[in-house]
C-alpha cells in the first residue's frame, strides 16, 4: 500500500484524516491511504507516477486532466481520489498496449493532431468516450464532444481530423 501525503509533513497540529481507497487504474487494482482532499489528478500523477495525465488550468476549465471514470470523461483536477474509491479509471497510459498504439493515438500521429501535446491526453480520452458510444460521429458531433477540452495551440482542425481518422480505423477493425 502506498501512503500519499502532500503538504502534511511537519504539520502535527491536528489529526490528519485519512481513508483507504481502492481504484482500478488501467486494469490494475491499486489501494492507497490518502487524505480526503487529495485530488484524483495528484493521486494519479504523484501517487501512481502516471504523469501522462496533465494538470492545465487546475480549475475545471481546460480538460487537460481528463481521465475516464467508468468509461465517462471526468476532470481529475476537480475530483477527489476518495470519490473514485471502488471505481475504474483509465488514463492515457491505458490506451495503448505494450506493442501497439490505440487507433486514436495513431490518428493524432498521422493527422498531426498535436503541437505542444499538453492537451493531447485529455483530448484522446474524451475522444475515446465518444467513439465508444458512437463509432460514426459527424465532424459536428466530434467538435461538440471535445468542446470541454481546450487546445492553446488552437490545433482544433487536426484534432478533429485525427478523431475522424481513428473512427474510420476503428470501424474497419470492428468490421462495420
Amino acid at each position: 500500500m502506498t501512503s500519499l501525503y502532500e503538504e502534511v509533513r511537519g504539520d502535527n497540529s491536528e489529526e490528519v484524516p485519512t481513508r483507504v481507497v481502492t481504484v482500478r487504474v488501467n486494469g490494475v487494482s491499486v489501494s492507497a491511504k490518502v487524505e480526503p482532499r487529495l485530488l484524483l489528478a495528484h493521486f494519479i500523477r504523484q501517487g501512481l507516477r502516471l504523469t501522462g495525465t496533465h494538470v492545465g488550468c487546475d480549475s475545471s476549465n481546460c480538460g487537460a486532466c481528463t481521465v475516464l471514470l467508468d468509461g465517462q470523461p471526468v476532470k481529475s483536477c476537480s475530483m477527489f481520489a476518495v470519490q473514485a474509491d471502488g471505481h475504474e479509471v483509465m488514463t492515457v497510459e491505458g490506451l495503448s498496449s505494450a506493442s501497439e498504439l490505440h487507433p486514436i493515438q495513431e490518428g493524432f500521429k498521422d493527422e498531426h493532431g498535436l503541437q505542444c501535446g499538453y492537451c493531447t491526453p485529455g483530448m484522446m480520452l474524451t475522444a475515446k468516450a465518444l467513439l465508444d458510444e458512437n463509432l460514426n460521429p459527424t465532424e459536428d458531433e466530434i467538435r461538440w464532444a471535445l468542446s470541454g477540452n481546450l487546445c492553446r495551440c488552437t490545433g482544433y482542425q487536426n484534432i478533429v481530423k485525427a478523431v475522424l481518422w481513428a473512427a474510420e480505423k476503428m470501424r474497419a477493425q470492428a468490421g462495420k
Binding site: S60, V74, Q83
Partner: protein, 291 residues
C-alpha cells in the same frame, strides 16, 4: 491548488447523511457531483469541515414523470443524464433546451441538476429553467420532508433556503395543464464559460392561447431573476407579435445586469429582450406549422 483539510463521509442512506449533517452543526456540506463545490473549495471560497458524499446512496439517480405528469429529478441525476433523456425531449421542452448548454460535456457527466440548483449561482442555468417552470426542491431533514418553490429556495447569490441539517433530495416540476412549449437560450463567450445572459421561457398553451407562462433570467442580477410581469403579460392571449414584443420589453426591464468584461449592462439587457422574443417567436411559428 489544495482545498483546506476536511473530514470525508460517504453515507449509504439519506438518514445517515442527515445524521452527519446534524453532527456537523452547520460546518458540513453535501457533495454530489462536486463540479461547483470542489473548484470553490480549491479557491478556498468554501472550507467545509466535513464533506458528506452522497454518491453511494442508492436510488437517487432518477428522472421520471408520475402518472399525473409531475416530473421528478433525483439528487444524483446528472446534466448528461438529462441531456440524453427521451422523457425530457418529449415532455419538457424548456429543460431539454437547457441541458446541453450547462457547462461543458465533461462537467455534465458528473455535475448534478439538484446540486446546481442548490449552488444558487446567479449564472446557473437550471435555476432559471426551474423558476420558469414553477419548480420546487424537496428538502429532507431530521423532522421529515418539506417542499420549497425554487423562487423562494434561491435566497441570494450562492444562498439557498436549506437548513443546515437538511438535504435536497429531489427537484419537482408540477404537471402541465396545457401543452408545454418554451426554450432556453444562452450567450457565452465559449463553451463552459458562465452565461453572459441566459433566458428560460416555459409556456403552457391551450390552442393558440397561453394559459401559463414563466420566464427566468440567468446572469443578469445578483441572483436568478423571476421576470414575473413579462410572464404574466403573456397569459390569456395568443402569441401575437405585439404580445411577444411587450413580454420581451418587460423581461428586459426586469433584468438588473451590471457592466463587466462580458458586456455592458445595456448590451445584456438588449440580449434578454432578443432572447425572449426569439424563443416566443419560435413557439409561435411552431404553432403555425402545427395548425
Amino acid at each position: 491548488m489544495y482545498p483546506s483539510r476536511f473530514k470525508y463521509e460517504s453515507p449509504k442512506s439519506i438518514d445517515e447523511a442527515i445524521a452527519f449533517l446534524t453532527k456537523g452543526s452547520g460546518e458540513a456540506k453535501i457533495l454530489a457531483g462536486g463540479m461547483s463545490l470542489i473548484p470553490m473549495m480549491k479557491l478556498r471560497f468554501a472550507s467545509p469541515e466535513t464533506l458528506i458524499d452522497i454518491s453511494n446512496i442508492p436510488n437517487l439517480n432518477y428522472h421520471l414523470a408520475d402518472s399525473d405528469g409531475t416530473f421528478r429529478i433525483g439528487a444524483l441525476c446528472t446534466h448528461a443524464d438529462l441531456e440524453r433523456s427521451s422523457i425530457l425531449a418529449q415532455h419538457q421542452p424548456t429543460l431539454a433546451a437547457t441541458a446541453p448548454l450547462v457547462a461543458d460535456p465533461i462537467v455534465r457527466t458528473r455535475g448534478t441538476f439538484v446540486g446546481s440548483v442548490c449552488h444558487a449561482d446567479p449564472q446557473g442555468d437550471w435555476s432559471s429553467a426551474m423558476i420558469a417552470l414553477d419548480g420546487s426542491i424537496v428538502a429532507q431533514g431530521p423532522k421529515g420532508r418539506r417542499t420549497i418553490a425554487v423562487r423562494d429556495f434561491v435566497t441570494g447569490p450562492f444562498q439557498n433556503a436549506l437548513a443546515s441539517d437538511e438535504i435536497a433530495v429531489e427537484a419537482v416540476i408540477p404537471p402541465a395543464k396545457g401543452t408545454r412549449a418554451g426554450g432556453y437560450l444562452k450567450l457565452e463567450r465559449r463553451i463552459g464559460d458562465f452565461a453572459t445572459v441566459g433566458v428560460a421561457v416555459a409556456l403552457e398553451l391551450s390552442g393558440a392561447s397561453v394559459i401559463r407562462a414563466g420566464i427566468g433570467l440567468t446572469g443578469v442580477g445578483s441572483s436568478t431573476i423571476n421576470a414575473i410581469d413579462a410572464a404574466q403579460s403573456l397569459v390569456g392571449s395568443a402569441l401575437t407579435s405585439q404580445a411577444i414584443e411587450r413580454a420581451a420589453d418587460l423581461a428586459a426591464q426586469a433584468a438588473q445586469p451590471r457592466s463587466d468584461h462580458r458586456g455592458s449592462a445595456t448590451y445584456k439587457r438588449q440580449v434578454v429582450r432578443t432572447f425572449v422574443a426569439r424563443i416566443l417567436t419560435e413557439v409561435s411559428s411552431n404553432q403555425v406549422k402545427a395548425a
